[in-house]
């Protein structure tokens, strides 16, 4: 089982947020304002959307087994990838880490009893559900075939599918994201426990601070944009319809003003997760704390300046293209800083192979490939060729599935003991990580080659010379699906049968590990006071580890 030297036979605490009831069973969940319970509500709902998106992805891959298309009609295929993209991006990946782990952990990590606005937090979940409801309604009544990017005038005039409810759904869902971001920023500003200075904040909190910036500054723009597109569709207005004088390129500007920064909503939290896992399992302070923290903010800010790199061949002006390409390269630097610092943290560490670590290292590998291929796309001359080919598809799956989803699953493994109080089978979960890694590469690496060979994306049929690579990719996808099924099953199994974890099974340094697992409703028995530096294992006798070779920082009090 897991590496639990100091916690022999444990039992769950008598009282914790899961068994505390205020009122009767189901109501105590649906009306809860406890950030931990809301996090679990989100966990359940994003999992549903991940399933939907995953099943659609599987159908896409099966369809592409033969050049002519093996499964569905062209209309249906177009709906498959659109709904796959919409479900995965707006309803799974964007809320995933922030709304689940962010909600659960930020108050714990900064020593607060709850988020600043608990009721708004619950409200944001309901908004998510309503938005999700609209989108599912659209999926089930005619589907949606515009691509997740909703380019006009296809979406606003020509498409025959259920665009309107989908657009309304995403519009509504945007407010859930805005409220989450608002809550995080205010919480981090005003709710920190005594001694929790800005530079003692866990990097996870920094990452979420940066993410929240993007959420509150970007999301309103996509909301209004989709609203305009929806109005255009419903009332035949002409904001983006050239037949009436509107400009379709304007839509793209507005859309990407949000949707490029949105990719950092997806990756920054995952980076935050990895920044927690790596020092914990290397048992040493993270290398370059302030640079990692700063780079999160830098990514969030510079990330707003690069959006038109999705539009290099729309006919945008050459000067604009040059500017946006240049800035896209700048935004790569803070990501590089993070990767190098993570790697250096391993140096002279005491590294274990616990499952979260395996996922985190898998994240680094796949994120690096995904990020580096972003450099190919940001290169003006090259993007003329690979824009809108499978190269792009491979790029973003490497970052979003290989990076963000891997980080998410890694986070699940890391905090599962905190959330449920129990551990899961160790070797099985390491095995699952390997399966995911292998299956993932087999699925998406061939797509880089396909893209460079010139296979455009969103094609339900393709010239036969592309078949070999497509078959490889589909084969990989089936391994990948297995890779996701495994954790899902053993995590669920462990909720009941897993070994009891104790407050700090790994052990880790964060405040969240200084309370029971699962925590009390109020999080802490007494408001904690922070007297140690982040990720400091040397001066934390409470962790029960052998003191380091030499104490480096001046010893901080007792605790």
């Amino acid at each position: 089982m897991s590496n639990t030297p100091l916690t022999p036979d444990l039992e769950l605490p008598d009282e914790h947020y899961l068994n505390a009831t205020y009122g009767s069973g189901i109501r105590s969940w649906l009306l809860t304002t406890d950030h931990k319970r809301i996090a679990l509500l989100y966990l359940a709902s994003v999992t549903v959307f991940f399933f939907i998106g995953g099943v659609l992805a599987t159908m896409i891959r099966i369809h592409l087994l033969t050049p002519g298309g093996a499964l569905v009609t062209p209309e249906t295929y177009n709906k498959l990838f659109t709904m796959h993209g919409v479900a995965m991006i707006f309803f799974f990946l964007i809320p995933s880490i922030p709304a689940v782990f962010g909600n659960f952990l930020i108050p714990l990590m900064i020593g607060a009893k709850d988020l600043a606005f608990p009721k708004i937090n619950l409200l944001s979940w309901y908004i998510y559900l309503i938005g999700g409801g609209f989108v599912l309604y659209s999926f089930s009544t005619g589907g949606l075939d515009t691509g997740w990017t909703f380019y006009t005038p296809l979406s606003s005039v020509y498409s025959n599918s259920a665009v309107t409810p989908a657009v309304i759904g995403i519009f509504i869902n945007g407010f859930s994201s805005i409220l989450t971001g608002l809550n995080f920023i205010v919480t981090i500003h005003t709710m920190r426990a005594p001694g929790m200075t800005w530079f003692r904040l866990p990097l996870f909190a920094w990452a979420h601070y940066a993410t929240s910036l993007v959420m509150i500054l970007g999301t309103p723009v996509v909301a209004i944009t989709l609203l305009l597109a929806g109005l255009e569709r419903m009332f035949h207005l002409g904001f983006f319809n050239p037949a009436l004088g509107g400009d379709p390129i304007l839509f793209q500007h507005l859309f990407w003003f949000y949707s490029h920064p949105a990719v950092y909503i997806m990756i920054l939290p995952a980076m935050g997760v990895v920044s927690e896992i790596i020092p914990t399992f290397a048992r040493k302070p993270i290398f370059g704390y302030s640079f990692i923290a700063g780079s999160s903010i830098a990514i969030a800010v510079i990330g707003f300046l690069v959006w038109a790199h999705h539009m290099f061949v729309t006919g945008e002006s050459t000067y604009a293209a040059l500017t946006f390409s240049f800035l896209s390269y700048l935004v790569a630097i803070p990501s590089a800083v993070k990767v190098f610092n993570w790697t250096s943290t391993l140096y002279k560490g005491s590294i274990s192979w616990d499952p979260p670590m395996v996922y985190a290292l898998g994240f680094i590998g796949l994120f690096v490939i995904g990020g580096l291929t972003g450099l190919f796309l940001a290169c003006l001359g090259l993007d003329i060729h690979i824009h809108d080919t499978y190269f792009v598809v491979a790029h973003f799956h490497y970052i979003m599935v290989g990076g963000a989803v891997m980080g998410y699953v890694g986070g699940l493994h890391f905090w599962w003991p905190k959330i449920t109080g129990r551990l899961y089978p160790k070797s099985l979960s390491q095995f699952a990580a390997i399966i995911l890694f292998v299956g993932f590469n087999l699925t998406f690496f061939p797509q880089f080659i396909l893209g460079y060979l010139g296979m455009p994306r969103r094609y339900h049929t393709y010239p036969p010379e592309f078949q070999v690579l497509n078959v490889l990719s589909t084969a990989g996808a089936s391994i990948l699906a297995l890779g996701y099924l495994l954790p899902m099953s053993y995590l669920i199994w462990s909720m009941r049968y897993g070994k009891v974890a104790g407050p700090n099974p790994w052990p880790a340094t964060g405040l969240e590990w200084k309370t029971d697992s699962p925590p009390l409703t109020e999080n802490f028995h007494v408001t904690p006071e922070v007297t140690w530096e982040p990720y400091d294992f040397q001066n934390r006798p409470d962790l029960g580890l052998a003191a380091g070779a030499r104490p480096l920082a001046p010893a901080h009090g007792d605790d």
């Binding site: 500003h189 500054l217 723009v221 050239p242 037949a243 009436l244 004088g245 509107g246 400009d247 390129i249 304007l250 500007h253 507005l254 003003f257 707003f304 300046l305 959006w307 038109a308 006919g315 945008e316 002006s317 050459t318 000067y319 604009a320 500017t323 946006f324």
Partner: protein, 106 residues
Amino acid sequence: MSEHIVSPKVYIVIFASLMLGTGLTVWAAFQNFHQYNIVIALGIATIKATLVVLYFMHARYSPGRTQLVIVCSIFWLAIMLALTLADYDTRPHDITLAAPQVFYCV
């Protein structure tokens, strides 16, 4: 956070200036300043908005954090407008918006 109470006198002065500004914009709109009409209109609007933010909304007396929030909102709005308009302004022949009625017949 010691609260700063703005006296009603200040409010009245600000209110008067806002009224003045409103009158001024309407007057200016009827004069022909060529391409500067819009600049003047927006200039006055911005001054009015600034007054509201500083005094009615107490931004002047708020902690630096609040002021930073305000600056950020303006900054991001500026990014969005400036970079997009930069694209439009540097397009070689902008006929993007010359809506064609296409009836292609072979």
